[in-house]
């Protein structure tokens, strides 16, 4: 009995992956990344409760912090009610928190040996890293849905057009991919779970508070404003605020927001693909 009757052996022409004479490299790369992201979809389907438990934190931000600050009128948010101003920030935050701990999943997979099998497969390193980034996107979308529902219930003035929603999904995916890839790089450098746990906290705090997520950049001290301007989360929040809210207005322009997010993601992916195999040594 044979495992694969009549099939050509591995390495023969039919098996040569796209990056060669037999097809375009793009579908191959995309298919490999999707195969990895697909695992995440299946995992979510087996254990949907996880989405709800992880959504508690962003919901509390909206319910407690948002409702309180709404009453103080202490934060200048222009023509927007504070809860409206905050909602895109919390949406970005929920994606950030999911993604930034993706590195720990990689360390966990390394300890289990799953990672070794990925790296021994013919899939390219870039495809594997992108697949992980897309997996974070899948989870970010699941959480984003809950944040949207809570925001709507709190009376946030949402822009519910197909174009706006498509834009929000795209920005969420980009942001999740970016921070998950960043997290992968950190994981490859620190290599152990204990060290990563410490790093995760150190990273999320400044990324979140030194961005436009919960207050405008202009109220920050100058030195912090400089950091906020190179913080990709600032641009993600800006894009979300523009697309998500009925009266949202962009501070930098959607073009700039997308350019920054895509540019940083590509640069991080290139670095991650190079150092990814190092996590196993």
């Amino acid at each position: 009995m044979s495992l694969a009757q009549g099939a050509p052996p591995a390495g023969s022409a039919e098996h040569v992956p796209g990056a060669g004479r037999y097809g375009s490299p793009v579908p191959r790369f995309v298919e490999d990344a999707l195969a990895i992201a697909d695992m995440e979809v299946h995992k979510l389907r087996h254990d949907p409760a996880e989405v709800f438990t992880r959504a508690v934190q962003p919901v509390l931000w909206l319910l407690i912090f948002g409702e309180v600050m709404e009453r103080t009128h202490a934060i200048p948010t222009g023509n927007l009610a504070y809860i409206d101003y905050l909602a895109p920030g919390v949406l970005a935050q929920s994606a950030l928190f999911v993604s930034i701990f993706y590195g720990i999943a990689v360390i966990w997979e390394r300890d289990l040996g799953v990672l070794h099998k990925f790296l021994v497969s013919p899939s390219s390193r870039v495809a594997i890293v992108s697949g992980k980034a897309a997996s974070a996107g899948v989870r970010a979308l699941a959480q984003g849905t809950i944040v949207y529902i809570v925001a709507a219930a709190l009376g946030v003035d949402l822009r519910l057009t197909v174009l706006a929603l498509t834009g929000v999904i795209l920005v969420l995916l980009l942001g999740a991919a970016l921070f998950a890839t960043f997290s992968l790089i950190i994981a490859c450098l620190v290599k152990t779970r204990e060290r990563f746990m410490g790093m995760g906290q150190v990273l999320t705090m400044p990324l979140f508070f030194a961005s436009s997520a919960i207050y405008p950049i202009v109220i920050m001290p100058r030195w912090l404003q400089a950091f906020a301007h190179i913080n990709p989360l600032t641009y993600q929040v800006d894009a979300l605020r523009t697309l998500m809210l009925a009266h949202g207005r962009s501070a930098f322009g959607l073009g700039t927001d997308f350019a920054v997010l895509v540019g940083v993601l590509l640069a991080l992916t290139a670095v991650a693909a190079r150092i990814y195999p190092r996590v196993i040594t």
Partner: protein
């Protein structure tokens, strides 16, 4: 190429980690279609050797060819013709057996039209068809290992690497895995390279073995030849102790021990 041509040739293969030479100028030849065992105590250099051959780890010196491809300059080609089952439990417990297999059939570029059939066939070969849609975390240790082995063979590799395939399994599960591995490679004509420090496993499965110690080969031959070299009535166990000696600790450190125990507790 004939059946008995070498499918793996290493040439002065060396790997150092700082001051430690984990693998020291290794010269090996593995014949196509054979079952080849790398024996040695923990920390002898077996896993490092395998990790270089499967392109996970770059050699510090020397090189090797796997199925005709150089592990340094043709790593991506090597990866297309090999399968690998790590010592650790590598099947994803939060997915079903079917999903585990499907993901790897995709990552290993099994043609889309053949995926379902190959997966069904592989599951029934290992007697896992009843459990195809169960989460792997509900599997017994033996079932997990069988699943991992078919997972790494869906793309019909020329060479299959098994790192301590039955570590942590009870004797009955061990027998089951051995039997099925034997049937599988006989059916596929695959070359099997396995590492073990279990002499019974080596005698059961391997046609040829080398004993590694401190990164070097200290004995090579059939399990019987090696046993006999230690004395008329010696077993492979006796020979192993004679060759690897009582030269103090060569254990692979806390991380290695932790990994082994974790594997054992997850499979047991």
């Amino acid at each position: 190429m004939g059946d008995r041509d070498p499918v793996i040739v290493t040439d002065g293969l060396t790997r150092r980690f700082g001051d430690l030479t984990a693998v020291d100028h290794l010269d090996l030849e593995v014949r196509r279609g054979s079952v080849f065992g790398l024996l040695g105590r923990n920390g002898a250099g077996k896993t490092t050797t395998i990790e270089m051959l499967i392109t996970l780890l770059a050699p510090t010196e020397g090189t090797a060819r796997v199925a005709g491809f150089d592990i340094r300059s043709e790593a991506s080609r090597v990866r297309r013709v090999i399968g690998y089952v790590p010592q650790m439990v590598s099947a994803d417990g939060s997915l079903t057996a079917w999903e585990n297999l499907m993901v790897f059939s995709r990552l290993y570029h099994v043609p889309r039209a053949e995926r379902r059939e190959r997966i069904e066939h592989a599951l029934s070969f290992m007697g896992l068809e009843e459990s195809a849609h169960k989460l792997v975390r509900e599997f017994s240790g033996g079932m997990v290992r069988k699943l991992e082995i078919i997972q790494s063979m869906l793309h019909r590799p020329e060479v299959l690497f098994l790192d301590e395939p039955t570590i942590g399994l009870d004797p009955a599960a061990r027998q089951g895995v051995w039997e099925q591995v034997r049937d599988l490679i006989a059916a596929e004509g695959t070359t099997l390279i396995l590492t073990t420090h279990d002499m019974e496993e080596a005698s059961e499965l391997c046609e040829e073995v080398v004993i590694m110690h401190l990164g070097r080969v200290v004995a090579r031959g059939s399990p019987l030849e090696i046993a006999r070299s230690a004395g008329e009535k010696a077993t492979l166990d006796d020979a192993f102790i004679a060759f690897t000696g009582d030269t103090g600790e060569v254990e692979g450190g806390l991380r290695h021990v932790a990994r082994t125990r974790r594997t054992a507790s997850r499979l047991g």
